[in-house]
């Protein structure tokens, strides 16, 4: 099997992000057809449901279902938001979509706005990829000039204003309600749910928030039909998806493949393990997904259900590959530090717990761990997960729980011997950055 490119198709040329390039690739055909045929919104949502498209941001919620939650006859504005606040370690797909194919996101949002009756949209772009934000603004200008955004689009009675909005790099703003708070100009902190954004979203109005890749998939589903898209993947795991492969592989990068493709194939597409080293573990869905040891991972296919069965989650599709030179204590220390830094500080378990987790992992790593520390880590992580306002608490606890579960021996070795199971010299060879020829 090889890649199945939809979003990434035809992006090898120069300046592929321009409107004329996108149109040449068949862009805006789906949207124009909807406008021309006055396709009823129900039909669009039914098509999406048939496609089995599940949210590409991490939670994997069925998109068609989400769209059907929006109240139909709501007086006043309804909002559409695109979550491009891609801040999770290991994830780098949305920025490439926006960098090389921004119009597919605009078209996806147009179709979404049409189907849900939204009058205004925002694309919230992570603050640390500012050049992507600037490029998206350019794309918006092109679309506005071409009459694809604004009032009475393409002469129809459908109007939709779309704006780009950039954050300042806070990971928490990728949580959909924190994202809405941030757009409103407030501190990026998640709201408690219920109410969900579909009933009380941006400025208190019904709002749908989808991931960049989700929107980018919509035009292709409309063009090829929901059934055909679904047929690309497995039942309940429809379509093709981008995987951001990073770590100890020969050719890290974004790969778009059908869901259900075996992990082993993805690994070989990414050039296989570097220098013929052995695979040790994989984080299959971004840093918040539990780590999966090599032997279990090699039996997995890349789709929501298979990865869930392996005790982890497909998440955003960020596949972090670690070979035998990796010290799992050090790797976890790095992740825990990230969550400690990024906790928003709103609710108690995450605010206080993420720092505690990091400090304990850190002291194990630097050789002053205590025998009781593994139990402490399990207990503290357990007290965080499921007790917080948003999923960041679970995201912080998940890696700790899974690393300690699968690699307890490494942690114990650290605590007992005050040193690493993987000798530092070996780690050093592993941490050299490998640049593939094709990049």
């Amino acid at each position: 099997m090889s890649e199945h490119r939809l979003i990434l198709a035809g992006l090898d040329g120069d300046r592929t992000w321009r409107l004329q390039d996108y149109v040449a690739r068949g862009g805006y055909e789906a949207f124009r057809k909807i406008i021309a045929e006055k396709t009823p919104p129900d039909v669009i949502i039914a098509e999406l449901k048939a496609s089995d498209l599940r949210g590409r941001g991490g939670a994997g919620f069925p998109t068609g279902l989400k769209w059907s939650f929006m109240p139909r006859s709501f007086p006043g504005d309804k909002y559409l938001a695109c979550n491009s606040d891609e801040g999770e370690p290991g994830t780098f797909k949305d920025r490439d979509i926006l960098r090389y194919n921004p119009h597919t996101v605009i078209e996806g949002m147009l179709i979404g706005a049409y189907a849900m009756g939204c009058t205004r949209g925002y694309n919230y772009i992570h603050g640390e990829i500012f050049e992507v934000y600037l490029r998206f603004e350019e794309a918006l200008d092109e679309a506005r000039a071409a009459g694809l955004l604004g009032q009475n689009i393409l002469g129809s009675d459908f109007s939709f204003e779309l704006f780009a909005h950039h954050g300042f790099g806070a990971y928490i703003c990728g949580e959909e309600t924190a994202l809405l708070e941030s757009i409103e100009g407030k501190k990026g902190q998640p709201r408690f749910k219920p109410p969900f954004p579909a009933s009380y979203g941006l400025y208190g109005k019904p709002t749908t928030v989808n991931n960049t890749e989700t929107f980018a998939s919509v035009p292709f589903i409309m063009k090829m039909g929901g059934k055909a898209f679904q047929g690309l993947g497995k039942p309940n795991n429809g379509g093709a998806k981008l995987f951001s492969v990073s770590g100890h592989v020969r050719k890290p990068g974004n790969y778009e493949l059908e869901l259900g493709t075996p992990f082993s194939e993805l690994l070989s597409m990414a050039g296989g393990m570097r220098a013929g080293r052995k695979l040790k573990a994989v984080i299959p869905g971004g840093s918040s997904a539990p780590v999966v040891p090599a032997d279990i991972m090699m039996d997995c296919t890349m789709d929501f259900d298979s990865i869930a069965k392996a005790g982890s989650m497909l998440g955003s599709g960020a596949v972090i590959v670690m070979d035998e030179t990796t010290c799992m204590v050090r790797a976890l220390e790095r992740l825990s530090r990230f969550y400690h830094e990024e906790s928003c500080g709103q609710c108690t378990p995450c605010r206080e717990g993420t720092g505690w987790l990091y400090r304990v992992v850190h002291r194990i790593e630097v050789g002053i761990g205590r025998p009781e520390d593994l139990d402490l880590l399990r207990s503290v992580a357990g007290n965080i997960s499921g007790r917080t306002v948003c999923a960041l608490g679970d995201a912080a606890a998940g890696p700790v729980q899974s690393f300690v579960k699968h690699f307890a021996d490494e942690f114990e070795y650290h605590i007992e011997n005050k040193k690493c199971l993987v000798p530092p010299a070996v780690q050093d060879t592993g941490s050299q950055i490998y640049v593939s020829q094709s990049c």
Binding site: C344, Q346, T348, W356
Partner: protein, 783 residues
């Protein structure tokens, strides 16, 4: 109604209730920190996590809506494990030094840690430390104790009307602070002290002066504004140490204005008058009650027998109790005088002859909640009656109440405002007439015959908008504020307000200046037939004055005239809780009065509630409750009816049988002729005088911490930039301002919230007394 079972107890709750509401109804306490019944739900402390049937995770009780048939366990293994987990997290960075914390003994975290905390800490790393913030003279901060419940943040945004505090930074670096360069200067700021569940925000004046368990608690009533805020006065060794709110859902809910909370500091101040004082030429000496009262009695007798009863005038502060006001008027009337008044800052008394009853708010405070539209005429409401303003704010923010004002001032009330007709004092009557005329047109009802001829032909857009708002509102109200009451044409404002209320079907009334603005009428402390009102007693000076709780320079409509009249008097007897240079200048005898915490008494507030209270402490020094001083004086003067053996006897005499005086509350007035105002000279400036919240009465003026706040800043000359340009002055220039009483030097401050041609200069401050009256023309020259 929804059925829910909590810990096996079945209860029914209304739709929209949360699990926390249901638990409260079932009498089950769920531990919590961030939840507060009067604030929005944050659901962030996670202490109230409970087990809900079919829910995969414990859910926060405060934010989980009840569904029919729900089953909840608040103390199951799952729930307790979650609650204990949260408690451990809260404690890892919290200093465990309760013995040195000012909150110790009344700390929610301390209390709940007993039930949910562990015996030893598993966290052995260094604790987080924050630098303490400076929140001004009232609130002390110990940031390291903060548990980030954000109650204070939500209070400032939702109750105070402006987000003065926020949570900066992320994760365990998150801390509460003010916005850069800003302070907490809400007049309600002290409530965050009560709201803070830990020792992060404590009372600066009270700090380290007592432990909660050492304090006795006494119910009391605030003597400051007309709301009659209910208080818990806390004392130790017979000294007031702290004042806290007593929950009263009809009035103040669980809030206090800073004025009510911190004015107690004046009770022990150096200016307290603690012994009777007598003048001897230019010298003063202290004297015993046994000597001073017979002297006062014979001196009063002498004046009355030589110059007649009318030679005597009594002027009482509206902050006095019913008992004091009642016995004062009884004493004066016993001596053959009808000259008694408590409306000291008023100028226009024409309504006295035509009023149907006792002016009051005309509605209950709770009713503000349901209003759709309100017109507030001539008021600095936010500072005059902070908690009444809070009710209006709440309704405006939550229920879309449209707030309109007419007056020379449009300062920030921290609430959404519909229309503010910004007109100089001299045009207020005409503006109200225009509103009435617009209303008559809109509603098709005719103006009253007596007013028809006075209706203006030109109607401003503002007047039209106000009329529209009142006409549209199903429930509307018209309030007259303190500035309207002190206005030189107050009776006409009253008359037009009555007309507007009639045409729009609105309720109508007065905000009232002080604790007994309604009670003073009920106690009959107003002139009777042939008697002189407060203004006339000053304008036609008396031979003898009895002053009760008032300061001649600061508490009168014209301090210069009042001082002059009293200076010329043969005898001035001042019953006062405080000593002051002005009192010593005019008085012959100073009798030490027990302030509200040291005397029993009664206030009748703006909604006609009678609220009696006992003394919280004994009287300090030789000061005595006012009703006792007056009763003994009555006895010495051998007047009949001065045999009350308890303050309640005096109250019952004053308020009539069973205190049922509701029928007497009536804002209606008959016709008042047009005052022919002296046309303001072209280009002349009009004075707008506010009585700043912390200068308003003798007690609050002497409260040291309140005097350090922004609201107690030195008075300045505020004027809009058009007026500044016309005068050729710049902000922060010094100017000489001359009024009818004299001249003062002030600094200019630009204030666009004033009508053109107006200069706003605070009253009730020694530096501005020489200007004379609270209204009228001023001239300004640059120095």
């Amino acid at each position: 109604m929804l059925d829910i079972e909590i810990d096996g107890k079945a209860v029914q709750v209304p739709e929209g209730s949360t699990v926390m509401d249901a638990a409260t109804l079932a009498g089950i306490t769920i531990p919590h920190f961030c939840y507060h019944k009067k604030l929005s739900i944050a659901a962030s402390c996670r202490m109230c996590l409970v087990q809900v049937e079919k829910a995969p995770k414990p859910l926060p009780a405060c934010a989980t809506p009840v569904t029919n048939g729900m089953k909840v366990w608040t103390r199951s293994k799952v729930a307790l494990q979650a609650q204990k987990g949260v408690m451990e997290f809260l404690l890892i960075n919290h200093p465990l030094d309760c013995p040195v914390c000012d909150q110790g003994g009344e700390c929610l975290l301390q209390d709940l840690a007993v039930g949910y905390g562990g015996a030893h800490a598993r966290y052995q790393e260094e604790k987080r430390v924050f630098v303490n913030k400076n929140y001004g003279p009232l609130i002390a901060s110990e940031s390291s104790r903060c548990i980030n419940c954000t109650r204070c943040v939500r209070f400032t945004a939702e109750i105070g009307g402006e987000m003065e505090l926020g949570q900066a930074f992320r994760g365990d670096h998150a801390e509460i602070m003010t916005f850069l360069g800003r302070a907490v200067d809400s007049e309600l700021s002290g409530n965050v002290i009560d709201l803070c569940p830990v020792g992060a925000l404590t009372s600066k004046p009270f700090r380290y002066s007592a432990r909660t368990w050492e304090l006795s608690r006494r119910r009391s009533v605030s003597p400051h504004d007309s709301l009659g805020t209910n208080l818990i006065v806390q004392t130790k060794n017979d000294v007031v140490k702290r004042v806290l709110p007593l929950n009263n859902d009809q009035l103040n809910e669980c809030w206090l204005a800073d004025r009510d909370r911190f004015s107690y500091e004046a009770l022990t101040g150096e200016q307290r008058l603690l012994q009777p004082m007598m003048r001897n030429g230019e010298d003063w000496h202290s004297e015993s009650w046994q000597k001073v009262l017979p002297f006062v009695s014979s001196a009063l007798r002498a004046v009355v027998s030589e110059q007649g009863g009318q030679a005597l005038g009594a002027l009482a502060s509206p902050h006095s109790t019913i008992e004091e006001l009642y016995l004062l008027q009884k004493l004066v009337r016993g001596l053959g005088s009808e000259n008694v008044d408590f409306r000291l800052r008023r100028h226009d008394f024409r309504s006295d002859a035509v009023r149907a009853g006792v002016p009051w708010l005309g509605m209950t405070v709770v009713d503000v909640h349901d209003l759709d539209s309100i017109l507030i005429i001539g008021s600095f409401l936010r500072k005059d009656a902070p908690l009444l303003a809070q009710k209006v704010r709440h309704s405006a923010m939550r229920h879309g109440l449209q707030v309109c004002t007419v007056g020379p001032n449009a300062e920030d009330w921290r609430m959404p405002m519909a229309t503010r007709a910004l007109v100089p004092p001299s045009e207020m009557v005409d503006t109200l007439a225009a509103v009435a005329a617009a209303l008559a047109m809109k509603t098709g009802k005719a103006l009253s015959e007596t007013l028809e001829a006075r209706a203006p032909t030109e109607i401003s857009d503002d007047a039209r908008a106000i009329a529209q708002s009142l006409a549209d509102g199903e429930k509307a109200a018209v309030w007259l504020g303190n500035l309207a009451e002190q206005h030189p044409r107050a009776a006409e404002l009253h008359l037009w307000a009555q007309e507007i209320a009639r045409l729009s079907g609105a309720s109508f009334g007065f905000v009232g200046e002080a604790a007994n603005s309604v009670g003073g009428y009920l106690a009959n402390a107003v002139p009777g037939d042939g008697g002189l009102d407060a203004r006339s007693m000053i304008e036609s000076p008396r031979h003898a004055y009895l002053l009760l709780g008032a300061e001649p320079d600061l508490d009168f409509a014209d301090g210069v005239a009042a001082m002059e009249a009293m200076n010329r008097a043969r005898l001035v007897v001042a019953i006062s809780a405080f000593d002051s240079p002005a009192l010593r200048q005019v008085a012959d005898v100073l009798l030490p009065l027990a302030p509200f915490t040291e005397t029993p008494g009664t206030f009748v507030n703006c909604i006609g509630d009678t609220q009696s209270f006992e003394a919280s402490t004994h009287s300090r020094g030789d000061s005595r409750p006012g009703w006792k001083i007056l009763r003994v004086l009555g006895n010495l003067l051998e007047l009949p009816g001065f045999d009350q053996d308890h303050f309640e006897s005096a109250r019952d005499e004053a308020l009539g049988d069973g205190g049922d005086f509701r029928a007497r509350l009536n804002n209606a007035i008959g016709n008042v002729p047009v005052a022919t105002p002296s046309e303001p000279r072209a280009g002349s400036l009009q004075r707008v005088a506010d009585v700043p919240v912390y200068f308003a009465d003798p007690l609050v003026r002497r409260a040291p911490s309140l005097q350090k706040t922004a609201d107690a800043a030195q008075p300045v000359a505020r004027m809009p930039s058009v007026t500044m340009a016309a005068l050729g002055v710049q902000p922060s220039d010094r100017v000489r301002v001359t009024g009818t009483g004299g001249a003062v030097e002030l600094q200019v401050v630009a204030d666009e919230n004033l009508a053109p041609g107006c200069v706003r200069i605070a009253a009730a401050h020694v530096s501005t007394v020489p200007l004379g009256p609270l209204h009228g023309e001023l001239s300004v020259e640059r120095l």
